[in-house]
């Protein structure tokens, strides 16, 4: 397989994984499962409510920085291969 294809495939793999997490914390935990998760507590927060108003946002920030890290590593690897 050509080098650019490998690079693109790896990128797509990262995207699928990170976007699944993105979807789970917001649409999953914060909306669809919010009522179920509200039975559990995190300190004074109901868990579903916490995801919707705090947790999802923290995870979003982390996801982007993880992607930056992964892609910088991938870019480096492909530069070295040249």
């Amino acid at each position: 397989m050509n080098k650019n294809d490998t690079y693109w495939k790896t990128n797509l793999k990262y995207l699928v994984i990170l976007l699944s997490i993105w979807f789970s914390v917001s649409f999953g935990f914060g909306i669809l499962l919010a009522d179920t998760l509200n039975q559990f507590h995190l300190g004074g927060f109901k868990l579903g409510f916490w995801f919707a108003q705090q947790g999802a946002i923290y995870v979003f920030v982390i996801l982007i920085f993880v992607y930056i890290y992964l892609m910088n590593r991938l870019d480096q690897k492909f530069k070295n291969d040249k």
Binding site: N4, Y7, W8, N11, L15, L18, L19, W22, S26, F27, G30, I31, L32, A34, D35, N38, L42, G43, G44, F45, K46, F49, W50, A52, Q53, Q54, A56, I57, Y58, F60, V61, L63, I64, F65, Y67, I68, M71, N72, D75, F78, K79, K82
Partner: protein
């Protein structure tokens, strides 16, 4: 010292700073005017994006809206932050690699068609104008509230400042002004929030404080849920809206955020592809500081409000109540003549009406903070409104001078001529925006939220498929954009302005509100584009090469 003097000092100092920056960073080429010469460091770009993004509505109204809607307010919190993940992962790096000036540039080149380009320009203009009219109005309102001039004078002063920054400095000028504006606005938002958190829960960090217990040992949120039940309001921590509608609204706001031209264009201003990713990360981090604090402020001020006024004798209410009553943002009507304030859910017996904006505006007074804090709040609110207006203005002017004049109407225009056109269209756009600010059409407030739906229904699918599918062709993309945006316009005008026979909540398709319909229109856009592209010729070899090229960050 008198409050009014403090306000003049804070606003005067911050405005001098913005003007100083504008003079220092004049744009001398179209590249500098449109994309700041592609030399903005990622952290600075992150701050500028955050200021560009957070408008007067985020600064003043959002915490109040959450405060009155509880869990349902989460759509704004997740919707207006989650879009940055889409931007960083699906759009920003590739659009930066593509390396032109505007979003219609990408659509026009990738779909090898001036029809596609023109449709994109049309969508960019609709989205930006609905958005900017609301901003200019916001500028006017903030001015009139803090500086005690009338709203029109406020709009006029705001217009001059924005004009000065945008016309002189273009993207280069507004970027560095926005960096300063971000610092002012985040300081102004956090300071009272931290004080109130300390006062209510003893915790310095508002994000943790609102999950903690008050002095009576009861968790704040449990107490608030209890108060809500007692007064007949819906419980604070659970939703009243249907889960489906919350899902669709959140999706529309997220995807809309990722499709807003004034946000996307910020990622064209950095040096390289990896910097575009980094800027998105920084931008979201800077935005998240305000967005995770807002729900805490919402809870503190909601609890404070209920405890301060509910069933209290009107005569003994604190001083701030009377002061804000004078502005009309709080009103009290003693329906049962008992001299006490009954604040309940039932409109027949409720005696108190509170405007959502007051939750942030009155915070410093409720917390007994000194006058200079209120002055900084004023400067912060103005920074939020002005920075967003300037960013939008630039998109409008580059759409006209670059996408319309240079790329479609008169391709042989010189660099100098194009720069003059860019400045003139910025002047024209400010005038038009100021006109709408002074004579607000009734639909402004209703449409600002819908600008997201329009962006989701038009740009997002065309850009994403342009990057991730080599088979997507101009027929598919144009059909998708046109039908997506028309469908959204139809639904919005039908249910918001009563056109096409109007309709009420029970006529909504599948129970989706106009605010959430952008997600539906976006899916239709995707579907139509894919179907049409199956029956029409695939793009040429050179387009396939273009796609290969934008996917690869290394070959500069």
């Amino acid at each position: 010292m008198e409050l009014q003097y403090w306000i003049w000092i804070a606003v005067g100092l911050s405005f001098s700073l913005y003007i100083f920056i504008a003079i220092r960073s004049r744009a001398s080429s179209t590249g500098e005017f449109y994309v700041a010469g592609k030399g903005v460091p990622p952290i600075a770009n992150g701050m500028a994006t955050a200021a560009d993004w957070m408008s007067a509505a985020s600064f003043i109204s959002m915490a109040g809206i959450i405060s009155f809607n509880g869990y349902d307010g989460s759509v704004f919190l997740m919707g207006w932050t989650g879009g940055y993940v889409l931007l960083a992962l699906l759009l920003a790096p590739y659009l930066r690699k593509f390396g032109k000036f505007t979003v219609p540039d990408f659509i026009g080149d990738r779909y090898y068609s001036n029809v596609a380009r023109a449709v994109a320009v049309f969508c960019a203009l609709i989205v930006s104008f609905t958005y900017i009219a609301g901003q200019m109005r916001g500028v006017g309102v903030v001015f009139s509230r803090y500086l005690e001039v009338d709203i029109n004078t406020g709009v006029f002063i705001g217009m001059l400042i924005v004009l000065f920054n945008a016309v002189l400095g273009g993207m280069k000028g507004i970027t560095y002004t926005q960096v300063a504006q971000y610092c002012v606005l985040i300081f102004a938002f956090m300071l009272p929030a931290i004080f109130i958190s300390l006062m209510v829960t003893g915790n310095v960090v508002p994000q943790i404080g609102f999950g903690a217990a008050g002095s009576d040992g009861v968790f704040l949120l449990d107490k608030l849920d209890g108060l809500h039940r007692e007064l007949g309001f819906h419980e604070y921590t659970t939703g009243k809206k249907s889960t489906l509608d919350v899902f669709f609204i959140t999706a529309a706001l997220m995807v809309g955020t990722a499709g807003l031209p004034h946000v996307i264009v910020r990622f064209f201003t950095v040096k390289k592809v990896s910097d575009a990713r980094k800027s998105a990360g920084w931008a979201l981090l800077f935005i998240a500081i305000l967005y995770t604090t807002a729900p805490a402020v919402a809870v503190f001020s909601r609890t404070n409000l209920i405890e301060t006024v509910s069933n209290q004798p009107y005569k003994t209410l604190p001083e701030w109540f009377g002061k804000w009553e004078a502005t009309g943002l709080i009103s009290y009507d003693d329906k049962n003549n008992d001299g006490r304030v009954q604040y309940v859910a039932d409109p027949a017996t409720n005696e108190l009406n509170v405007d959502a904006d007051i939750m942030v505006l009155a915070n410093p007074e409720i917390a007994n903070l000194p006058n200079w804090v209120i002055a900084i709040m004023a400067a912060g609110a103005l920074a939020a409104a002005l920075s967003t207006a300037a960013g939008l203005l630039l998109v409008i002017s580059s759409s006209v001078s670059h996408d319309l004049i240079k790329k479609i109407i008169k391709p042989d225009v010189s660099e100098k001529g194009e720069l003059v056109a860019a400045r003139l269209s910025a002047v024209g756009a400010v005038m038009l925006a100021a006109y709408f600010g002074i004579n607000p059409p009734g639909f402004v407030a209703a449409t600002v939220a819908l600008a997201f739906g329009l962006a989701a229904a038009s740009f997002f699918p065309a850009i994403v498929m342009g990057i991730f599918s080599k088979k997507m062709n101009k027929e598919g993309a144009v059909a998708g954009m046109v039908i997506g945006v028309l469908l959204m316009l139809f639904y919005m005008t039908k249910f918001k302005f009563g056109w096409f026979g109007g309709g009420t909540e029970k006529d909504w398709w599948f129970g989706i509100s106009p605010e959430g319909f952008g997600s539906f229109a976006m899916m239709v856009n995707f579907l139509i584009a894919v179907v049409v592209s199956k029956f029409t010729p695939a793009p040429d070899q050179n387009i396939q090469e273009l796609i290969e090229n934008i996917r690869n960050p290394n070959d500069e």
